[in-house]
């Protein structure tokens, strides 16, 4: 065991001591530096000497007693040398900083040389197209990474964070660099988009084995490398184009931001309208890239670029009439042998044909397959056998064709309602079309939360085969509100069954957290809960009695099964396992609700364990890095940072509110993005803060808004009028967006150089990234929506107070 942390802490303390000594005149500054130079020299000599000796020993196989101790010293002194070197680096940072810092005069000169003619089209149009392409690429990239690695919030937050960190670096690079060619950048942008997706596809094959889900850090690596080309170029182009517009066209940076945002808004609307229903993911990427080229070429007024436009148009037609997605999906999921791929508004549906057997994958995860006898029998009979006389059945998701033969074994059934959110999934599983003609089957395409909330039906048995509560979207099917509605539509001794996570021989602490939260939530409405360990942990709930003698009941009622029978199951083992699960459930774990989806926290911990032993160092470090503008930035950057963090947080919580009120977030998500972008665009275009004194009140205004939102969040969640609650939930992003947009305009208005613009942009991006990283994955699951809004309010007020204090301190010490 090496003493990395101890050496680090000791070095830091020693450094602070000698630094303080030199500051207060106890020792001279020279002696302070000499001391650290000597430390560096000693550590270097020991590390290098031991290293050379060890290398020789390894090469020539010298078998010397005690040589392993030398290795120890080599590493320990090497660690000490590294920390000392970091201290030295801090003395000379300015030197390295200057290497990248270009003379401002040269920057302006370079811009003057580049005339408007060298742009492929009008800068405003280029800015719109930049926003359009960025918006599209971001949404599709996020979808694909979630497909690749699992759809939980930390991954989504990480993708946003990486996107923004690279963009921020690109913006910063643009601020420091005068050696650029706007024309080349404009034409390079679509190529970088293609390159980013090509890298994504190649790396997902190269860095993972057949069928392997990449761990968290591999996902991070794939995301970072893939996004490098597109994010760097797009951010670089944005900053330079903003500066170009500001200097040559007298267009403010805020207006440029508004124009770019308008482009993103167009892409948001188009994705809402087209993606999933009309066009598949990769088809959309190809179409967006080609559309960008067509428009730039068409408006360039130059023949050469016009030819690009015509060629791109022909390619666009080809991309739209062919099916590139199935081919690309086959490259990504080579081991699955995809026969057909289709993107719906809810995710990717892929039908595989491996070894002559058909399987259906949803967002790259297996949801049904042929010959899944065990699972389909467990899904149906554990619940059905508990009811003496099941007549009306509600089956929520999981596939009708698989389960229908099992339901047909109960002759008392008069009606089966099958609920599936995704109409494309219903269409892809073609034989459902035959079953819907049967009189007693009612197939409904609706969101389960909305359906259960509004239906007036009554059911004897309700079986939920929805996905596990691994993200905020799916956690609402395990909430107090959902279960209350389920109870409402159950008959008096009706049975409700759901799956609450995997059931191996051991339930981990994290799995137990998920199970306990769901169990405690169910206790609200059901007096009896019977856990059964099968392929999953099944929780059977009722207000009447429940029996562990499932094989006995199956025998008695003549239900012939291949797995759920006395040959595989025994009453005693079911009882033993149920008691074991009951003992594991922790009554102190909070109930899961829409306002506080605590189950997501445990579920994400479980996912993270699977993805990389639960080490969350990256999110923590990324969070700290992203906090830099708050602690180290100027007041302007700090306020920009908190405004963006506030907006990102409000946007996420608006999404949660919408999915809770309207249910179907997918169609409304695009609308929410469009409203956010509209707010940002109007805020940054119109000069709202004409009175510059009002600027300093940005943070308190946002803080008060957040407090107001905290208090209206509960009434919004419980409002009867869905239209009103959804409209209000959509609208809450507008004010923070307008304020953030306006602040961006004002903060960049007086900027004399591209470095200032990039600083504000950097703070803006960091705030948004931090918001996406922590709010959905940590704050909302742990503290709930109301408290998270209050935390946002606190951050805004903290930003205001620190700003005021530094202003006062500045006056006092002037």
């Amino acid at each position: 065991m090496y003493h990395v942390v101890t050496i680090g802490i000791v070095s830091l303390i020693l450094y602070l001591l000698t630094l303080a000594g030199s500051r207060y005149g106890i020792i001279s500054r020279r002696k302070h530096r000499i001391f650290w130079n000597i430390i560096l020299l000693i550590t270097f000599i020991v590390t290098a000497g031991a290293g050379i000796f060890l290398a020789l020993q390894s090469n020539y196989k010298w078998n010397i007693e005690g040589v392993e101790k030398l290795l120890n010293w080599h590493v320990e002194f090497g660690t000490g040398m590294s920390f000392t070197a970091l201290i030295h680096l801090s003395w000379h940072l300015q030197y390295y900083y200057n290497i990248f810092k270009k003379d401002q005069g040269r920057d302006e000169e370079a811009l003057k040389v580049k005339s408007n003619n060298q742009l492929p089209c009008n800068p405003g149009l280029l800015m719109i197209m930049l926003g359009f392409l960025s918006g599209t690429i971001q949404v599709i990239f996020l979808r694909e990474i979630l497909n690749l690695s699992g759809g939980y919030e930390i991954i989504a937050g990480t993708v946003f964070a990486v996107w923004i960190i690279i963009s921020a670096a690109g913006a910063r690079l643009a601020g420091n660099n005068s050696n650029f060619n706007l024309n080349a950048l404009a034409w390079g942008l679509p190529l970088s988009a293609v390159l980013s997706f090509t890298i994504l596809i190649l790396l997902s094959r190269l860095l993972t084995g057949e069928g392997v889900i990449p761990g968290y850090y591999i996902t991070l690596l794939i995301t970072t490398i893939s996004l490098l080309p597109f994010c760097t170029i797009s951010a670089f182009l944005f900053v330079k184009l903003s500066y170009f517009s500001a200097t040559s066209r007298k267009i403010t940076a805020g207006s440029s931001f508004a124009t770019e945002t308008a482009g993103s808004m167009i892409s948001g609307i188009l994705i809402t309208l087209l993606a999933g229903s009309v066009i598949d993911n990769y088809q959309l990427v190809i179409a967006s890239v080609l559309l960008y080229i067509i428009i730039l070429g068409a408006f360039s007024g130059r023949q050469r670029f016009g030819i690009y436009s015509v060629a791109a148009s022909l390619m666009l037609v080809a991309a739209l009439i062919t099916d590139p997605d199935t081919g690309i999906r086959n490259i990504i999921l080579d081991s699955v042998k995809i026969a057909k791929s289709k993107d719906s508004q809810y995710g990717n549906i892929a039908v595989s044909n491996y070894g002559g057997e058909e399987s259906i994958f949803y967002n790259h995860r297996l949801i049904s397959y042929e010959q899944n006898i065990k699972q389909r029998e467990e899904n149906i009979h554990y619940a059905m056998l508990q009811h003496e006389n099941p007549v009306d059945i509600l089956l929520i998701s999981g596939g009708l064709n698989n389960h229908l033969p099992e339901l047909r074994k109960y002759k008392t059934i008069k009606s089966i309602t099958y609920l599936e959110r995704d109409p494309e999934l219903l269409a892809m599983t073609s034989d459902i079309k035959d079953t819907v003609t049967e009189a007693d089957i009612n197939v409904i395409s609706d969101d389960a939360y909305s359906f259960v909330k509004k239906t007036g039906g009554s059911y004897d048995v309700i079986i939920s085969l929805l996905s596990e509560p691994e993200n905020i979207v799916s956690s609402r099917f395990y909430s107090t509100e959902f279960f209350s509605n389920i109870k409402r539509i159950l008959t008096e001794k009706g049975i409700f069954m759901l799956r609450a996570g995997g059931a191996s021989s051991y339930l981990s602490k994290e799995q137990t957290g998920v199970l306990s939260s769901v169990y405690n939530t169910l206790k609200n409405d059901f007096t009896e809960i019977l856990p059964i360990k099968g392929e999953s942990v099944y929780l059977i709930c009722s207000s009447g009695d429940l029996s562990v003698d499932i094989p006995g009941i199956a025998d008695k009622r003549g239900i012939e099964n291949s797995y759920v029978n006395r040959y595989y199951l025994s009453k005693d083992i079911i009882k033993y396992n149920s008691l074991q699960v009951n003992e594991l459930t922790d009554s102190t774990i909070s109930k899961n609700s829409l306002n506080r989806p605590v189950v997501v926290f445990y579920s994400q911990k479980h996912q993270m364990l699977k993805a990389g032993n639960g080490r969350l160092i990256f999110p923590v470090i990324a969070g700290l890095i992203l906090l830099l503008p708050f602690f180290a930035g100027r007041r302007k950057s700090r306020t920009m940072f908190t405004s963006s963090l506030n907006l990102a947080g409000t946007e996420i919580m608006a999404l949660i509110l919408i999915q809770s009120t309207a249910g179907n977030i997918y169609q409304l998500a695009g609308l929410l993005i469009a409203i956010t972008m509209a707010g940002l665009a109007s805020g940054s275009y119109f000069d709202i803060f004409r009175n510059k004194r009002a600027l300093q009140y940005t943070a308190p205004v946002l803080g008060l808004t957040a407090i107001f939102y905290a208090f209206i969040s509960s009434p919004l969640l419980n409002m009867e009028n869905v239209l009103l609650s959804t409209s209000l939930s959509l609208f809450i992003v507008f004010i923070p967006a307008v304020v953030a947009g306006s602040y961006y305009r004002s903060a960049t208005l007086e900027s004399k150089d591209s470095l200032s613009i990039s600083s504000v942009y950097f703070a803006d991006l960091c705030g948004a990234a931090l918001g996406f990283l922590i709010i959905a994955s940590v704050l909302v699951p742990l503290f709930g929506i109301k408290t998270t809004f209050l935390i946002l309010a606190f951050i805004n007020f903290a930003s205001y107070i620190t700003g005021q204090l530094s202003r006062i301190a500045g006056k006092v010490f002037k």
């Binding site: 801090s90 010959q371 051991y506 291949s562 005693d572």
Partner: protein, 370 residues
């Protein structure tokens, strides 16, 4: 950047990290009670540290270091196991679930496992324990005498050391198995077979039956899929058989990884040529699991093809697992072709084995039947 600013940033970072809960960063150390520590068997002092000789990983550990299996640690210059009397799983299972089809059929077995494994299979169905240390799991307090008591209490005829990897809790297995033998109970080892010869020879004296997971017949696949090697597993199979432990072999057919028919043919040929034609072979159906979630389940046709190959190559008892209702779950007499054991699920519907011989043609049937 000014120095003051640098210090300020350092302090902020250090403060942030110190405020961050250890559970979030994953830097917390496993906590195991002192009574669950026992001096490890088969340890050896070398110039580079203490070597654990239990399995082919042969970890060489310095003070405070954990073994690859996460169950062994060096303290005060000695190697200790941290997995003694602290199983995280204790369940009742039919013996057929292990799977063992020729060993005391229709009996219950008391199954225990601690955390830890010496391989890192990407398809592990018990990854929540196999890839953990005993300090990370929620454990029962079950010393060997309590294991035996529970086995008797629940009317089980045997104890199974299973789920994770019993080789990694070797000392606990050995003591429990010794005690169980004294009380007339049988011991079952469900293992990946990744163990060195000497520890295996010692363990064989107290183990009655074993199911060894032969994960692939390609060294390359073994390494990529599990992080281990094929050769030690083949040696284990031979050693167990030579030492009179009843042996059954499981082969999980993972699409694109281990479902190649040529490889299956090679494996069956090796088994037959090395005297394992009487050893039951179970082909098991894969379900997407752990890190291998982007794969389809093994098609039933593919498993049936493997079953045909194994029979053609001369293996007498070949079964199919994880496919309820399969034709390949009955035990057939290889001499007269009549049904010896008619199975449905984990139950026996008819038993035509009398004193270990076929009721119809009197030929011996390999296995432990009582």
């Amino acid at each position: 950047m000014k120095k003051r600013e640098f210090v300020r940033r350092c302090l902020i970072t250090a403060g942030g990290i110190s405020l961050c809960p250890a559970s979030l960063t994953g830097l917390s150390q496993p906590q195991v009670r002192s009574k669950n520590y026992r001096p490890a068997l088969f340890q050896e002092e070398t110039a580079k540290g203490i070597m654990c000789n239990i399995c082919p990983n042969e970890c060489v550990l310095k003070e405070g270091e954990l073994s690859d299996c996460r169950n062994r640690i060096v303290k005060n210059g000695r190697l200790y196991t941290m997995a003694y009397g602290n199983p995280c799983a204790a369940n009742l299972d039919p013996v057929e679930k292990k799977p063992l089809y020729h060993f005391m059929p229709s009996t219950l077995t008391f199954s225990i496992a601690t955390a830890g494994c010496n391989l890192a299979c990407m398809n592990c169905q018990n990854w929540t324990i196999s890839q953990k240390s005993p300090g990370d799991t929620r454990n029962y307090d079950l010393m060997p005498d309590a294991v035996v008591e529970n086995t008797e209490k629940y009317n089980c005829k045997s104890i199974s050391y299973t789920y994770s990897e019993p080789v990694t809790f070797y000392e606990y297995v050995f003591d429990s198995a010794t005690l169980a033998h004294e009380r007339g109970l049988k011991n079952i080892l469900v293992s990946n077979g990744y163990i060195n010869k000497d520890p295996l020879l010692k363990l064989s004296k107290v183990i009655d039956a074993a199911n060894i997971d032969l994960k692939s017949f390609s060294d390359k696949t073994y390494l990529k899929l599990t992080g281990g090697k094929l050769e030690p597993v083949l040696n284990t199979i031979k050693t167990l058989k030579n030492n009179g432990v009843w042996l059954e072999i499981t082969n999980l057919m993972v699409p694109e990884w281990t479902d190649n028919t040529d490889e299956i043919k090679d494996m069956c040929k090796w088994l037959v040529s090395n005297g394992f034609s009487d050893t039951p072979l179970h082909f098991s159906r894969f379900q997407p699991m752990y890190k291998l979630e982007q794969l389809p389940p093994t098609p039933v046709d593919v498993i049936n093809r493997a079953w045909d190959i194994a029979r053609q190559e001369g293996l007498k008892h070949v079964y199919i697992g994880n496919v309820p209702g399969t034709h390949a779950s009955d035990t057939i007499c290889d001499k007269c072709g009549r049904k010896l054991l008619e199975r449905r699920g984990y139950r026996i519907l008819s038993n035509n084995i009398v004193n270990g011989r076929c009721k119809f043609c009197d030929s011996p049937v390999s296995g432990v039947w009582a």
